[in-house]
Subunit: 73 residues, 2 copies
DNA sequence: AAATTCCACGAAGTTAAACTTCAAGTTCTT
DNA sequence: AAGAACTTGAAGTTTAACTTCGTGGAATTT
């Protein structure tokens, strides 16, 4: 039972890799620092509502996909 | 096409009403001001990641439910 | 009709979460 | 081995998240 941030981060990483993007590339599209992406993926930081929106757009997924944890342990 | 904030707000309101809570009651549970709930429901403000989590918990829904807009008018 | 409840709305402010930079180190891939 | 991708910590800045206060409106309820 990891935190929501952690789950969210894992999901973000999964989706990013599926799209074959590096943290740096995603960071540039979304206009945040690569370290911030790294921190979000590791559950250390969380995105703002606006950044959440941009992430979804950049990765071409619905926002709810970031919060869909049905396949989880 | 309304903004994500607006859609989110509408959904929040729907779910809150389904639970038969006033803005004030929800605000108290989630530990924010009632005006803030009002603003979020009207798409003026957006919650932080933490507040999002608390909203889901208070209303006993999954976070993705806030972002599920399939049945939209 | 007046009192109560619930909510809208604006203005103006504060706070904390979101986000940055830099620098050094690690792991992965080729 | 070398480069690319990522981690991590520390210490800082910025801005979105959130507050308070005051007024007012619409819909009950007494």
């Amino acid at each position: 039972m990891s935190s929501l941030r952690a789950k969210f981060g894992k999901q973000l990483r999964r989706i990013r890799k599926r799209r074959d993007l590096t943290q740096e590339q995603l960071a540039e599209i979304v206009d945040v620092s690569p370290e911030f992406i790294s921190n979000v993926e590791r559950g250390i930081n969380a995105p703002s509502f606006e950044t959440l929106e941009k992430l979804a757009e950049a990765l071409r997924v619905a926002i709810k996909d970031f919060f869909d944890y049905d396949h989880e342990t």
